[in-house]
Amino acid sequence: MHLINPTRSRPGDHTAASRSRRTLRARRWAGWLFALPALAFYAVFNFRPILLSIQYSFYDWDGIGASTWAGLENYRAVFTDPEQLSSLLHAFYLILFFTVLPVTLALISASVMRQIQGKFTGTLARTMLFLPQIIPGAAAGVAWTWMYSDNGVVNQLLRAVGLESAARPWLGDFTWALTAVGFIGTWLSTGLCTMLLLAGIGKIDGSLYEAARIDGAGAIRQFRSVTLPGLRNEIGVCVTITVIAALASFDVVYLATQGGPGTQTMVPGVMVYNLAFNESRLGAASALAVVLALIVIAVIVPLQRLFRER
């Protein structure tokens, strides 16, 4: 917009100045005009539901009939109801499996694949790693319930290597269900992270590796001093996406366990669904959803700072 400013440099030429001001103003609003359709969609389908959720969270409402003002009662319940509280803790536990493990695995596999890039095996490895990414979480949830079942692949493998005693119906096991669900997340997000990191590695100047090698740096030292700093941005993206996926997980958990056994795998996403649609407590569900959103923001913002390029 400041490109048309030259006309302004003639003070006293009022007509020109005002014309340019008009043009300026028109252009400024023209920009908004182009954005309008998108903004309208955003307002109706994103902004409005958010505001309504906030509003509902202050009411006792079954979703259809009359509602009564509940004040902060629903929020109090989020932090005092052991079930809701534990669901929040489970979400944080899942970060381990949705973020920490996948990013670590992806760093290793991306570094390894950098060496075999371009060859047929490299393409094959990339394809296989990325494959889980094109499968919807819901389908993965169903597939994994079979693999985790008493006679499923996981137990068959354990039995095959003599770990008979470790075999169990994983998703029905009180101790292991949440971890088992977590590994589904690991499987889902490792591919995505590998792809992102691999793309990042490709951008790192090859001469840096060469220089490091000349300075006598081994593979591990190269990884620590060249790869890791060079991937700062990409790791940031991976962490952000997967942490959100962990905290706001729904599809995988809903299809694999629905939060069971007991409430061992209950996560906020499933809890919100249960409260809203099975128990018809929209107020309580909205309060939990709002808290969840705030927690996600509270976790993501510092992470963004941390990974921002210096």
Binding site: G63, I64, W69, D150, P261, G262, N278, S280
Partner: protein
């Protein structure tokens, strides 16, 4: 892309931008949220929910009715639709099918929408009535005379007054047929352990299970990822508490409580069977489909289920299994078991074809409709059917269903599912049953938790 406007226009607009944005956002807030308290608009006006001028002469007026069906009942409900259309060719009945476990989740919102189905079977009848989603059928009852031609006990579960089921205004009506919820058994395995007559008491049932366990047969097939051990639990509750006491809870009768020694005793029996290893070890990880597969695959002796499974179980398994009613707690005691009137439907308050829908309800009171029900595994007390005979291990499956149902009816033993007491109880029951299977909750504590959930839900409604 930082704007570096130095022009006065720029400065002006910059000064204005914040307030403008504020006004825009504010007005957006107002327009978006200014609807006041949520739900205050209401969905069904009283006039919609309680028609007074009704017509029974609609058989010749072309109309299309939508029947909201659960996938597991699709064959049966299609059968009803076909039979109805054979009699009233001008009226079409279309099925709108939803997966079983989703049926009651979407139902309230569907009923409140602008295009509700006409005929529905809500599990949460009280909630539907409270929110004005269901049609008051009293005027139709009068016009068609249902109250005089259908057994009162079949219509009572469809009556609501003051938030209590059992009497008052009619909201769900039709004929009289229901599933037998009882003990399905694998004939081959039953012969192996020498079971020749239906057990007459819980102790006898238990003896058979012990024998099966000894013979290396899994005594009970069940699924509990979805909490369906609940069928067995509910049967035990009915046995020990008595059908009436259990129904009182489900129907919200004032003062009804689950926190009784009898309920704890029922829970203890279930716990004993769990501890004895009568269930497969992975029962908490199994869902209903898997349990159907296991039972039809000969993987266990007993299957505590409802006779609707006849519609879904592998057809090659037909003839290889039978059913008997849940034996009474003690020999000579009263039979008890859950049922629901599968021949009774509600009409959506927002339905535009109420008169035609009522004609469908009237059709459900005819023998033709009862016949469809019986064909699909339900029991119907059809006039002229005569005595169904004593429960036995011989006879066809249909005969066994009829005789089992008749035995419970003779003892006035029909009750309902505890989870139908309130949606929150449903969720909680599944969790508690999973905890019980894992040995992580004591029977008394479980009963207390369920009662607390129930009491809380009542407070809210």
């Amino acid at each position: 892309m930082l704007q570096r406007h130095t022009s006065r226009a720029g400065a002006l607009s910059r000064r204005l931008r914040a307030p403008l944005a504020g006004i825009a956002a504010g007005s957006a807030l107002v327009t978006l949220v200014a609807c006041g308290a949520p739900g205050s608009g209401g969905s069904g006006s009283p006039a919609e929910a309680s028609p007074t001028a009704v017509s029974t002469a609609v058989a010749d007026t072309p109309a299309t009715l939508t029947l909201f069906s659960a996938a597991g009942l699709q064959a049966y409900e299609q059968g009803l639709a076909d039979a109805f259309q054979a009699k009233y060719p001008k009226i079409t009945v279309k099925l709108r099918v939803e997966p079983d476990n989703n049926y009651n989740t979407v139902l309230p919102r569907l009923l409140a929408s602008d295009s509700p189905p006409d005929l529905v079977q809500p599990a949460d009848l009280l909630g539907g009535v409270k929110d004005g989603l269901l049609t008051n059928l009293d005027a139709y009852d009068k016009a068609y005379g249902w109250s005089s031609k259908v057994p009162a006990s079949a219509l009572a579960p469809g009556r609501v007054s003051d938030g209590v089921i059992g009497s008052g205004t009619l909201y769900q009506a039709g004929g009289s047929a229901g599933p037998l919820v009882g003990v399905f058994y694998n004939k081959e395995l039953a012969a192996k352990i020498g079971m020749t007559t239906p057990p007459a008491s819980i102790a006898e049932l238990e003896a058979h299970m012990a024998k099966a366990k000894e013979a290396g047969i899994t005594p009970i097939v069940a699924s509990n990822q979805d909490g369906l051990i609940g069928h067995l639990y509910n049967l035990l509750l009915g046995d020990y508490m008595g059908a009436q006491a259990l129904s009182d809870i489900v129907y919200h009768k004032p003062g009804a409580t689950l926190d009784t020694p009898a309920a704890v005793q029922a829970t203890e029996v279930l716990q004993k069977w769990i501890k004895a290893g009568y269930f497969a070890s992975d029962v908490n990880a199994l869902n209903q489909e898997a349990s159907y597969g296991q039972f039809a695959g000969g993987k266990g002796l007993f299957f505590f289920q409802g006779s609707w499974i006849v519609q879904t179980l592998d057809k090659t398994f037909a003839g290889k299994y039978g059913v008997f009613p849940m034996p009474p707690a003690d020999k000579g005691g009263k039979y008890a078991g859950m049922t629901s009137n599968t021949l009774a439907f509600s009409i959506a308050a927002r339905s535009e074809n109420k008169d035609a829908a009522a004609l469908f309800l009237d059709f459900l009171t005819t023998p033709a409709a009862a016949e469809v029900a019986v064909k699909n595994g339900y029991a119907a007390l059809t006039p002229g059917a005569g005595s169904a005979g004593e429960p036995s291990l011989s006879g066809t499956l249909t005969e066994q269903i009829q005789s089992g149902y008749a035995a419970i009816a003779a003892d006035n033993g029909f009750d309902s599912w505890l989870q139908n007491a309130a949606p929150a109880v449903n969720t909680k029951l599944t969790q508690q049953l999973q905890l019980l299977v894992a040995g992580k909750v004591a029977p008394a504590a479980m009963v207390k938790t369920l009662q607390d959930t129930y009491a809380n839900a009542l407070k809210g409604s």
